[in-house]
Structure formats: C-alpha cells, structure tokens
Symmetry: C2
Subunit: 195 residues, 2 copies
C-alpha cells in the first residue's frame, strides 16, 4: 500500500531484525516493558548493543518498530455477505483489539518512537488495506459504497481519537453505530474519484 | 469542563510547578529538547532533582505536562456571525497550529508520558471547550447545530488522525471541507440529547 518496507533487503539484515524483535517480545513477557534495556535485548538476541543502536537509534525507536509489527492484521477481514455487516463487524473487532491495554500500548509505542512518521503511517496503511478489501467486495457485489478516505475520516479516525484522547467513551455499539453512520450519511462519498 | 486541575492546591506546590515548567520551556529553546535531563531542569528551576522525580515520576511525564500546558487555547474562538464561518475558521486555525512541527511534538509528548490518559484527556477537553463555545453561540442565534460529540467525531478526530498517522494529507482546505461536511451531513445530530 505504498508504505516503506520494514525489512531492509539482505539475509543478514532480515535475520538481525527477526532475532531482535523476538528478543523484545520474549523479554516484554518475562521482565515487563519498563525493565527493557538495549544491552538486555542485545544479549538475548545475540547481537552487540552497537548493532541495535546503529540500526534503530535508541530503545524507543526499536519499541516503535516492534509495536507496528504487532499491530499488523493477521489476514483479510471476514466476508459476511454485505457491506453493512462487513463494516460493522470489522469496526467492532478493530476497536476491541486497538482499545485493549496491549493495543493502546502498541499504538503509543508506535507513535512515541516515530518522529518521522513512518511507523504511524504504517498503522494507517494497515487500516487502509483492510477497509479497501471490504469496499472492493462491495463493488463486486454491486453495492454502493463510499471511498477509503471517507471511511478513514469518519469511522477509523473517530475510533482512534477516542482510544487516544477519550478512552472512557468506547464500546462495540459505538463502533457499529459509526459504521452505520458512514454508510447512511456518506453512501457513495468520493467513490470514483480514485481512492 | 470537568478536566482534572493541572495545579495542586497550595502556594509552594504551584510555585514549584511554575518554575519547573518555565525551566523546561527555556532549556528547550536554549539546548534543544533532546538534551533535556532532570538534573539540568532542576538546576535551572532551583529545586532538587528528587522534587521533580517525586512530583512527575520521570522526564517524559514532566514533558507531557508541559506539552499540555502549551496546547491550552489562548482564548475563546472568534465570533464571525454564523456557525458555518465560525466552525470553518476555527477548524483551519486549529489544524494549522496542531499540525505545525511544534504542535505535533507537543501532542506526541502529551501522549507519550501519559499512560493513564489524564493529559490526553485534557487535550480533548480543550477542543470540547472551544467547540462548545461555537455551538452555544449558534444556539443563541437560533441556528441549527449538531452536538459537541458529533463535531469531535467528524471534524476534530479526522484532523487529529491525519496529524498523527497521515501527515501528508493536511491543509486548510481539508479542515474547511470537513467543517462544511459536518454541518451539512449532521445538521442537528444529537442536539438536545445533552451536549
């Protein structure tokens, strides 16, 4: 989806990334996030600390990269036969995952170590990808549908805003209601103008 | 607006907060954000480092508090005679401020040092406050208007989402277009059901 690749080309580089990411995930479980340090991660991954500093800059940037990998969707969203049902279900599931304690921590990590915006852009690219699958299916069925940007602006954005800034106001009903609102208030918005 | 007060009661406590915040602002300008440390800030503020650790926990929480103070609006939004003009103008100005390099850094600081959500909630409370002023004015003029939550969901949230996750897609035209969209697609949404 136009996002920059998370893995540099080359076998050794990919192996270093994989072992360092795995070390972070294991150590998070074993000692907790607050106790993570670059030397600790390096020892577990069997690389030198300077390998980590050279590649990631600092701990926060590494945690940002790991968080983005964890936010990657596991597969395309389920096909439930109509855009209304597909979008409501996807929204409720997305909200549940992202608003969990783990989801929220990953989003904050992704943003915190990411002054240049690449990792945050990747989070958004995941949502674009999933929504595009649902909208393409609707088009195949001949259903009217808004474009991807409209769904991002009026469904994904309000959910993310509440996750980050108004966490008391979140439940599946809210997600489903927003999905319904997008399809009724913006039934064909922007569609045909390219996504 | 129901947000928790940023200053604890008591004269000494308020003076400590003021001098520490001022030290952060001065040192950010003089040495840059990346060079800030708790001992450096403590020396400038003429308090002990342990005063800062006791009150703020760590540097990131202190920077989060300072960032939220900097995001506080300077006063109520201007009255331009109609809700459409008021909301479009406010949206364009809000976006310009928040999407600047400084605005973006403050938002990320506010989120990063704030695992409990108080500072992020304060950012949202500022927007609620400003939008409520515009909607109250509209009500006094007898203009139809949506409620605050609708404006947060479909105007503030999409702008914030793009600031954080899709920074290439931002300009005043986008802000004005969203404001227009909210008033035309949700002309009286939720109004009368509480604010």
């Amino acid at each position: 989806m136009g996002a920059k690749p998370r893995t540099r080309p080359g076998g050794r580089s990919a192996r270093v990334q994989e072992s360092v990411h795995r070390a972070v995930r294991e150590l998070e479980t074993e000692v907790g996030r607050a106790a993570l340090t670059v030397p600790l991660i390096a020892a577990r991954a069997e690389v030198t600390p300077s390998t980590i500093y050279r590649r990631w800059g600092d701990l926060q940037e590494l945690l940002s990269d790991v968080a983005v990998e964890r936010l990657r969707p596991e597969g395309p969203p389920a096909d439930r036969g109509s855009l209304a049902t597909d979008l409501e279900t996807w929204a409720a599931e997305w909200l549940e995952e992202m608003s969990s304690a783990a989801g929220r921590a990953y989003i904050q990590d992704a943003l915190a170590g990411d002054r240049e915006g690449g990792n945050a852009g990747q989070c958004s690219a995941y949502a674009v990808e999933q929504v595009a699958v649902l909208l393409d299916r609707a088009a195949e069925r001949g259903e009217p549908a808004p474009d991807v940007d409209t769904v991002l602006d009026h469904l994904v954005a309000p959910m993310m805003y509440r996750i980050l800034f108004r966490p008391g106001l979140l439940d599946a009903e809210y997600a489903r209601g927003l999905a319904h609102t997008v399809l009724t208030r913006f039934p064909t918005e922007g569609a045909g103008a390219g996504k």
